[in-house]
């Protein structure tokens, strides 16, 4: 029962959602609209579950004074303050002059943006230390990369002799070989996704149900 009921539910819900694509009847769509809404709420609940797990893992580390407990405490304090402020300010929280908005602008924006900005430096380091034309394939990759890097910026169009043709050749690269390769990947991925989806719906794939 503990596995049969979820498997049967998987089948019926999965088939219903596949049918949504083909059946435009409004009464069928009423049911699928409810399913979609419940799915959205459940997806939100799954995130909250992750929050519980975070507290479950980090709170004992702070209480026990494990190594780096100070950083964990800072994280938990920041989390609690943001939650309290966000819920307290409610629907007005995103307006200027509110603490939640200040936390977002002064803390979240620079931290989020700079975390990703570090990648610019690491890609420079990788370009120097790791990108080697060890064989013909790697050489093709690097040549294509250099052409695209030159052609996508204004200075590329201003280069003497090749400046006119460089953006055109780059567009050809993106419109022909790139599309050929991407389509091959998309088609392969689509076939895989269809196969996996069918396996899940038909109960052949059961890993999402866990052990026992």
């Amino acid at each position: 029962m503990k596995r049969t009921v979820p498997l049967v539910l998987t089948f019926f819900v999965g088939m219903f959602m596949i049918g949504e694509f083909f059946i435009p009847h409004y009464q069928y769509r009423l049911i699928t609209a409810d399913f979609l809404e419940w799915g959205v709420v459940l997806a939100a609940a799954a995130f909250v579950l992750g929050l519980f797990n975070l507290l479950q893992v980090n709170l004992p580390k702070v209480i026990r004074r494990d190594p780096d407990w100070g950083y964990k405490l800072l994280m938990l304090v920041a989390l609690v303050v943001t939650l309290v402020v966000g819920f307290a300010e409610g629907s007005a929280r995103q307006e200027p002059g509110h603490v939640y908005k200040w936390i977002y602008d002064a803390m979240f924006v620079p931290l989020n943006a700079t975390m990703f900005a570090l990648l610019a430096f690491y890609i420079a380091s990788a370009a120097f230390r790791a990108f080697r034309a060890r064989n013909i394939d790697a050489a093709i990759l690097l040549v294509a990369a250099v052409i695209v890097m030159l052609a996508r910026v204004p200075v590329g169009e201003s280069l003497p002799i090749v400046g006119d043709k460089l953006p055109q050749f780059m567009n050809w690269l993106m419109d022909v070989p790139n599309i050929a390769a991407r389509r091959a990947i998309f088609i392969g991925a689509a076939l895989g996704a269809v196969a996996t989806g069918l396996r899940v719906i038909l109960g052949i794939e059961r890993s999402h149900l866990g052990g026992e």
Binding site: A33, L36, A43, R152, V153, P154, R183
Partner: protein, 290 residues
């Protein structure tokens, strides 16, 4: 020191020198700008033309799915697109699928609307954020009133004047996806563009652009802007005579900074490969890796 020894030490150089070089390649062109002219891509022109073809009074659905990390690439497009639409008296309904987007995109929408004297609920509206990724997109395709019962200001979405007659995504003549990743343009194309034959344009980050070009070529997207150069090209189309006072064209300002950055990366690739090739034969002879 022989050339071989120098090249070996050069290859083993502390990467923090490379980081410093990257920082200089970004800071110097910002302080000493050298501006080169750039042309507009066919894909960005198609985007612009798609918005231009809409009659005044049309209502467009905008899905603003980006966060502060992708702001330099997408915010300039987002602002220019809103300017373009409000200037043509096109009404805008905005949603988002990213939880970090609302505090970023809603003030921009309010600011651009205020600049054109637009009224909330009649000329523009932000109806909310919805988690759930593909399920949320499917739900938008099926029934917006059910998916977004109330906007964040507490108004019933179904009774907003701007939402009258727009119950499903297919009721909008155009869907604009400003997308930094997952969920975003790809999920809109996969989930509802084909099923409902939606007219859709997309502004995406540079990382995603090669993936979305097949969608453009297949007609699933009517226009595509990729990364900061795409945003700069769109700004050029929206402000052909330059920006009015008080308006900053951040992508146009920044795109020429990319010149030195790209040249620096190309130089690193060339130097790294040349020094590796010149030191390689001795490595192999000594029994090391090629």
């Amino acid at each position: 020191m022989t050339l071989f020894q120098f090249l070996e030490r050069f290859q083993a150089m502390d990467r923090r020198w490379v980081f410093l070089g990257m920082a200089i390649a970004i800071i110097v062109p910002m302080l000493v700008p050298i501006n080169f002219e750039f042309s507009v891509d066919e894909r960005v022109q198609a985007m612009y033309d798609e918005v231009e073809s809409l009659p005044a009074g049309s209502t467009v659905l905008v899905s603003a799915d980006f966060d502060p990390a992708s702001r330099p690439e997408l915010e300039p497009f987002f602002r220019a697109n809103l300017e373009h639409m409000f200037r043509r008296d096109i009404r805008v309904v905005m949603v988002t699928l990213w939880e970090f987007a609302p505090p970023l995109v809603v003030p921009i929408l309010d600011e651009m609307a205020a600049r054109h004297g637009k009224e909330y609920g009649t000329d523009y509206a932000y109806i909310g954020f919805k988690p759930g990724k593909e399920l949320a997109i499917k739900a938008i395709g099926e029934n917006i009133y059910k998916t977004f019962p109330e906007d964040p200001r507490g108004n019933k979405v179904a009774s907003l004047p701007i939402m009258q007659g727009f119950k499903q995504a297919k009721d909008f003549p155009l869907l604009v996806s400003v997308s930094a990743g997952f969920p975003g343009t790809r999920e809109y194309v996969l989930q509802i563009q084909g099923q409902y034959n939606l007219n859709m344009i997309s502004a995406c980050t540079a990382v995603s652009a090669p993936d979305f070009i097949p969608f453009y070529k297949a007609g699933q997207l009517k226009g595509l802007s990729g990364g900061m150069p795409g945003s700069a090209q769109y700004e050029k189309l929206v402000y052909p005579d330059g920006p009015p006072p008080g308006v900053r064209l951040l992508a146009t300002q920044s795109v020429n900074v990319l010149n030195l950055g790209h040249l620096y990366i190309i130089l690193l690739i060339v130097l790294g490969n040349v020094s590796w090739m010149l030191t390689r034969p001795r490595d192999v002879a000594a029994g090391g890796k090629a």
